[in-house]
Symmetry: C3
Subunit: 339 residues, 3 copies
């Protein structure tokens, strides 16, 4: 429970209305009730302010007079909401110590928590206050920075590095072998040992069941502040720049480099050995098959249609080249006539 | 081993031929032999009846006279087959009790099975006959309804709810944080605490390595009778209506609502904040980028071509707008001439 | 550390330059330094030879005189590189034995390694030198051939078979139920028991978090020498021929058969009940919706564009059929005039 004046003291913003108004959680404009602090981040929802039952509201300067509720005015209400939500919902406090059903083969700081069923191999270095969830496996020689938290059943392969204050969700696999094989003439495959590591920066979040492969010769590198959603696959020797965010189910093939502050939409794919510069946005479902040299938004996906319409329209895609020939033929006749 | 008259007594249907015919498993028309009960569900396979070596056959009224084999006539042979297969293959019977290598921090019913390496946190409620597979992690305050079975290495995060008679396959992760961040001007991300839950109804099946994120403020909700295949990603605050079935590798982004009895094909994607009504079918590989307001089948995927043809045809997609301009120009000249 | 003459003695090839040259690891042309053995596999990189700091180089006969460095000349430098890399980086040597925090309910050979937190059910058969990583779950009646290695948190369901010398990466799930349900008139689903197995050949590699479902009635079969990357989903009753390689995030729906020596690009999808012959290459991101009867390369994906261009061009896809009608109308007028 915070009073509005306490919030403004900690997080800034201009306070209008009763400073003693108490709020105990954040909520959407629609669902907020007594004791809730709502927020208006997107002007298109401002009509919802009228009926809002919140005790107070966070809003932008342009919206300051749209309600008589106690309110906090701030340049970016969504960021403010995020910070208030963090105040109301601090990260879980873990009791330090090693669960008796964990297996730990390296010396670790007393501030570390290791849950039931976790196993930590030899030569592992864990920073202060690291949390290793139940069933996690930390391979030989791996390093995890202070304050990082691994949820359940996370696997960190040998020698991989995770920075400080990272969050890794359940089932993620960091450092499995990259998909590297040389092909014999008869089609059989000779495995290329994958001797690079995965090196992950600070303040990175990695979603559930996401996989990041170790490098073949050099390392796979994930920059500081990168946010990865669930079920992402990152191939060997990929490099991802700082603060890039990648939505669920994206696949990035080997040796591709992605710049800083990119945003990659869900189910997008990026083939191998490409370069994508900083500040690129790739739309959901888009397969990137060429390097992207200029910042901007890039898209390649199809409009959904009713199935019958789709059958009619898309049959022509097989014959687009012939269609263009027919147009050219029509144009040429015109040309001849014009002459 | 069942006699045909025993099957008909339990499951209904009309019996033709020797009621004492004994069958001990179900099989396809092609592979069935002595002691097998085959089924003809799809009329296009009826030519296979002639050579079928089964001891008996399940078929529809229209096909009743297509064989002289002992047979069960029923309106829906595929449903009948499913029910016979369930009789022949009852779910594994687990011995109740907690394995000595499990860690259980909540009181649980005596009828529950907890396998080796599983860990159950405090304040967890498990219904009667729940089975917790090896290596599963049940977070603080989670609830799992009677008769539900979790296979190996499943993670249920804190406070999530799984209904009765659910099946969750290995590696599934229920309740990891949704992908919610507010973006600062400098491109850095402020985490929005994900304080909602995942609430899963009764009779739901969840495939291997599927992930369902907890809600940001409200809950993510999966309705009764929903069937989810493997490697599906469901974002925060998604709602899925009763009996909807979703095939493998589908991604559904945050805050999207899907109606009841929908069928979503493999690798389809649905972007966030959409509404899809009841009884919608989405074809495999289709990315849905707009709400769907009417029941029906919706599709957006490409015809596969030999690579050389594809190169020829698809190059034109970049210039479709110019192509349309050329057609328009041709039409306008015609217009002018006609005048 | 190997001398070049030792390498040539073991692996063949023609040695030019000082046979006593010692190398201790492999590296790319760009990054190689003192003590490194670099390789030139792709002629387009041959300009990098000049500045290469390696102690020696592997190259093809055509490139034999492009450097004065000590070198090994061989028909396929990439295969040679792979084999040298294997010499320099032999697989980890595991100490045989069962970790005290593992649960083993079957008799196993003394040469087997079972790590912490692993659990092995009854009636399991493990070959010599099998390695079961931490947190793996081997179901009742499963069999794993000699020399196969499972990384952490792998789940093998009951009765499944893994061949010899396989590598299975963390989080893979072998043998979960296929997605098999019969649909009642009211839209509810009746589960069809999945009683087939997964049968995996020898020398197969399976990537992290990849899932392979057990067969419904018959088995799902993965041939010898198949290589599967991460996050692949393989449905029930799929058959994959020998030495086929499949990149990350591919989904293959039930009952599809894929030939030998195929290569399937990342994020490709193949719908169910298809047949794909030997030696087929499917490009990344391609959804295969028909059987492929002839070897060759097959593609269906879209060119990426800047978002504004894409909006302009792709709007027309909804109207392609009408566009073709307009072209036809133009052609018909021409025809009439010509007559």
């Amino acid at each position: 429970m915070f009073r509005l004046d306490e919030l403004v003291e900690r997080l800034g913003g201009e306070l209008l209305g009763d400073p003693a108004t108490a709020v105990r959680r954040v909520a959407t404009l629609e669902q907020a009730g007594e004791g809730d602090l709502a927020f208006l981040a997107n002007p298109k929802y401002q009509s919802r302010l009228a009926a809002c039952g919140a005790s107070a509201v966070i809003l932008a300067p342009a919206a300051r007079d749209l309600t008589v509720l106690p309110r906090i005015v701030t340049a970016d209400p969504y960021i403010y909401f995020a910070r208030v939500a963090q105040l109301f919902n601090p990260p879980e406090a873990f009791v330090p110590g090693v669960h008796p059903a964990a297996s730990v083969a390296s010396p670790i700081p007393a501030s570390v928590t290791v849950a039931a069923g976790a196993s930590i191999d030899v030569d592992v270095e864990l920073g202060e206050r690291v949390v290793i969830g139940p069933g996690c496996r930390i391979g030989r020689g791996a390093r995890i920075g202070a304050g990082s938290r691994l949820n359940a059943n996370v696997t960190i392969y040998h020698d991989c590095v995770v920075g400080r204050d990272c969050i890794v969700h359940a089932g993620a696999v960091i450092g499995a072998d990259g998909f590297g094989f040389a092909r014999e003439r008869d089609g059989s495959w000779v495995k290329i040992p994958q001797v690079g590591r995965v090196v992950i920066g600070d303040d990175v979040e990695i979603g559930a069941n996401t996989t990041i492969d170790r490098g073949a010769l050099d390392d796979t590198v994930i920059g500081d502040g990168v946010k990865l959603d669930n079920q992402i696959q990152i191939g060997h020797n990929v490099k991802i720049g700082e603060r890039t965010a990648i939505a669920g189910c994206v696949g990035i093939a080997g040796s591709t480099t992605i710049g800083a502050r990119c945003m990659i939409g869900g189910q997008a794919g990026i083939i191998g050995h490409l370069e994508i510069v900083d500040d690129v946005v790739v739309s959901a479902g888009t397969l990137v098959t060429k390097s992207i040299r200029r910042r901007g938004v890039y898209t390649a996906n199809l409009p959904v249609q009713g199935h019958a319409e789709w059958v009619k329209n898309f049959a022509h895609l097989r014959h687009l080249d012939a269609l263009v020939d027919r147009i050219r033929a029509l144009e040429e006749r015109k040309e001849r006539k014009a002459r």
